[in-house]
Symmetry: D2
Subunit: 338 residues, 4 copies
């Protein structure tokens, strides 16, 4: 049994981690921290955890050295204040923020609007997408858990980048549920404003764009990404719709074969005819549907649950790998479907 | 052409009033006030009014004496600060807040949690439900526009109270869309929290309960109201489900006849087989469906759009009456249906 | 390991049973039948089961005698054609339809509109609400799994009936998500028709009304039920709002204590301040919130996931009991919360 | 006063036309036809029209020669059976189906899967997008009302095509509400299936793709369109997100200026910072937001209500022009906003 903790555990990803951990047979959730809710029973904040999590929020992660793993569910800019100290205690860390996803501190500063306070650890951080970087994750002490959008977009595009089959740039038009915006209310996610609407936001300006580009270029060869995120009125889920020109004409069958081969043996990626958000809801699964249009363009769709495969489930998948557990431990269940 | 103004116009009911007024053939919207947004173009806040409302928010309603009508879309507790001064200028006022709906200042204090600062005008205020108080509204300088829930519940129950046909108390279980909660974001109406949920709140403790009771007793005879409001994940609309024992056994046909007769000639109330929220959406209509269960219980359902018949449309209906216009001027259009 | 089968497995409750069974450590799903989809891979119909269920739909349940348990997810009127034969093979049966819930075949005929073809087994069927009938379920070969609405309403009201604390009749105003209407598309659940609407239907005429009444009277003493179901635009979940007069004045604290005591030790029922649909989503949990209004009226709210505690989860809970397994095996996980 | 009729009036676009016509000061709705509902009062099918439309569905449009205008709300393939006969009576026709949108009968056959039965009238049909073809519409007897998706996509892209500013092909990733799928229930629009999901369908295979391409090439110069439609869980509305490479680097300001100039004086097109579905809901408006990303790519978003500007409102706009009325007659109202 491994002892684990969560810092910054009052948000949606912190709660979701706890929800998954209570069914995990090899990890025990020992501590959840929160500055604002310190001293409060966890199940007063995350009421759905009543009967499952019998903890109070701790003000800090004192005693981290007795833990095997800490999940940092802290916001961008806050994680990098905590991570160096945690690593010094010897505990392994999965950071769910964006602080360690970009390898270049200058690019971090450009996109996150602040100087990186822990540039030294950027080189130690492994990008936590197990389907692409499994071995590195196994050896890592610090994993930068991927963003929700990049998880979907990279899994959609990786096989094409890996083989260098694309010509020109890629459009990633992604549709996210509102839980991706986090637990804090605001005008964007105020129900009367968003429930019967669809909005594009931050086109070409979202922090997940350089993340997609950096990772896809590690995987292989291809163009820039034009990332266009949208908010749609669902709670959980992302559908990433990716479009690009093929370098050479191919058939849909050829592309599907390529994807089948690329993801053979992956427990959490399914190549399907029609990627469905609902089919993967509340699961750690990603569905990918590649197609060729007119012999010369690729259209690839990928669906995930942004809180599971797009955040807390993937963090747990990485943690399993880092701790030497079978990768799907505690995560091997189907999506809701309905 | 009558000149009208709106104070407190940055919220949903203020915007909805403006939306309706731009299609009103006999009223011209001259001024919209806002403390917080003074100086800002109205269409920067209510973007859907672009091309229709060419005003900036005014800091106050200076020059009210040149207007024919002011709509107070200010919050509870704020309206009563403005109304006495407005009335002194000679302008007619429809107040959309709850400040003048209860005739007894002590009951106001009990339910609104503050002393009434303008008790003298309570006796001058007419409750603005035209189907019940048309003549009084025509003669009034100050109309207290009904609450959204009371509009639906009172229209559902008035015929039974008028004839004294009920025995015992009444249950009003009402389901409201989220626009009823207003424009300010909060946890209740944060999309991830409410979109796939239904919540009962303030059972027996909502301010609209004494409002229903006072008005129904003006109309006729009957018991207390147990009011149980719920939030459902739709944007616009209320369905009020009302249950009570009948004093004497009746058939559904008899009750339907009674309702048909009671609402004969009413442009905005329809007695139908199945009250539908969608059928009245964006309209000033109320659908009412009465039924008798087992010969001894009445179940009556009423649907409205909370922002129209439940707020701004009804305010306009009252204003039409107060200004001597045909009551349905600018309001005689069907619901969306879809 | 117990071998189990599902007949009529193409609907939502059949799929949900399979979804839950794949994570159940002590049951193995051996067969799923479907007339219409016989021969088709299960994961082509329930796509979310891909990678988890590697079966084809069988045309019938041949070989039931080698199974330990059969779940009948067949519609009302169809289950009673299958159950007698199944029982003869010696297999235990949990029937998710309404065919064995009412003990009197005449009442069945009145409410279901057809003669009961297996009245002899009505006396053998145990109503599958473990919180009330655990011992009988343990001894049963045939369990009639409760309806979704009755599960919520009965758990909300049982403590008050058990103690005979109510005077007069009860109103149950229940709000159901659309998955309760089943997998077949129709006008009621056509998204444009229902998404921004709320509808009351079958008030006083729904088959679940006599079911609630019969069970509550087994539990204790109290009046008739006026059951008023509503369709709300959520996918999963029911909130049952129950109202009744108290025989004697009580405080909310007293009623809450009563409920706490009544449900002490129950893994799947939680007495909470505010019953939330989202807190129990995708779980086998029921949240119950009792309150007293004005000293004399009880208002009790209960939330469940209609597909889990309201159908397939509860069926599994019963099956665990019937097979001598710990009751929460395979079901002990929290709701989604978000 | 012009007398008008609607054939095939039981669907959403037929009902929406009627809803708009009852507020139109210069047109009187004389007849609505329906094969399936002939003899039935219109307000029994479109219940929201009660009190506004006092007609029964006619079995056919006998007496069309006494009408000034007929709207064909019949399905693809059915319109072309009716239109020749209607035109022979001398009545003007706006056809809301796709039958007369493509000028080449072979392309029609390729995309609609059947031979065109009235190819002779294709040359007489004018594409009913007033912002681009106002003069031709004014002179036409037969107008092919644009598809919902093409309305949004073409208005988004027309200024760039008109000036030939794009290099290479265009991606149109569009998100539609479910009312676009029509009134017939089916698995795609069954609420439990679609409410918490997003689906891409018919990528590169949708009939609106050749429609966009043909019209954009009439307008100017540019590449092919890769059209990727999606279903999102809202009732009304489309957001079309369009992406293309610029032939020459430009600034967002330059592109916005171009759009401002192109749409100057247009009552129903607004160039805004952020195209919003909700801002145009239930209105005949289109909001367009162009942006340049990285100096070299254009991203343009357009929002409409698919039932109004995307169907019935635009049909009325065309009819106004054809009858010599001011173009915005009966259509000059703002969107709902909320």
């Amino acid at each position: 049994m491994f002892d684990v903790g969560i810092i910054g555990a009052t948000g949606y990803t912190g709660g979701e981690l706890a929800r998954l951990l209570v069914s995990h047979p090899e990890m025990e959730l020992k501590v959840m921290t929160s500055r604002g809710n310190a001293g409060k029973p966890v199940d007063k904040v995350h009421t759905y955890l009543k009967g499952h999590v019998d903890l109070e929020f701790a003000p800090s992660i004192a005693g981290a050295d007795e833990l095997d793993m800490v999940f940092a569910a802290t916001p961008h800019g806050v994680s990098m204040e905590h991570v160096p100290g945690l690593l010094e205690t010897g505990v392994k860390v999965v950071d769910l923020s964006g602080d360690y996803r970009l390898s270049d501190p200058d690019i971090y500063e450009t996109w996150y609007g602040k100087e990186h306070s822990d540039p030294g650890n950027l080189a130690n951080a492994v990008y936590g997408l197990p389907e692409l970087f499994r071995d590195e994750i196994a050896a890592a002490d610090l994993v930068a858990n991927p963003g929700c959008y990049p998880t979907a977009a990279i899994l959609a595009l990786a096989p094409l980048y890996a083989k260098g089959l694309l010509a020109g740039d890629v459009v990633v038009d992604a549709k996210s549920g509102t839980s991706g915006a986090g637990i804090s209310p605001g005008p964007r996610t105020h129900h009367p404003n968003c429930a019967e609407s669809v909005i594009a936001y931050n086109t070409g300006k979202h922090r997940h764009q350089p993340e997609m580009e950096e990772v896809l270029r590690k995987v292989g060869k291809g163009g820039d990404v034009l990332f266009s995120p949208h908010l749609v009125p669902i709670v959980r889920g992302i559908l990433a719709s990716c479009y690009a020109d093929l370098a050479e004409p191919m058939s849909t069958e050829e592309v599907v074969s390529l994807y089948d081969a690329f993801y053979r043996g992956e427990r959490f990626v399914q190549v399907v005819d029609e990627a469905s958000v609902r089919a993967v809801a509340a699961s750690n699964r990603c569905q990918v549907s590649p197609a060729v249009i007119g012999g010369k363009k690729a259209a690839v769709f990928a669906s995930i649950d942004n809180l599971v495969k797009g955040a807390s489930g993937q963090a747990l998948q990485c943690a399993n790998i880092m701790l030497g557990l079978p990768e799907s431990t505690g995560l091997d269940f189907p999506g809701l479907g309905v």
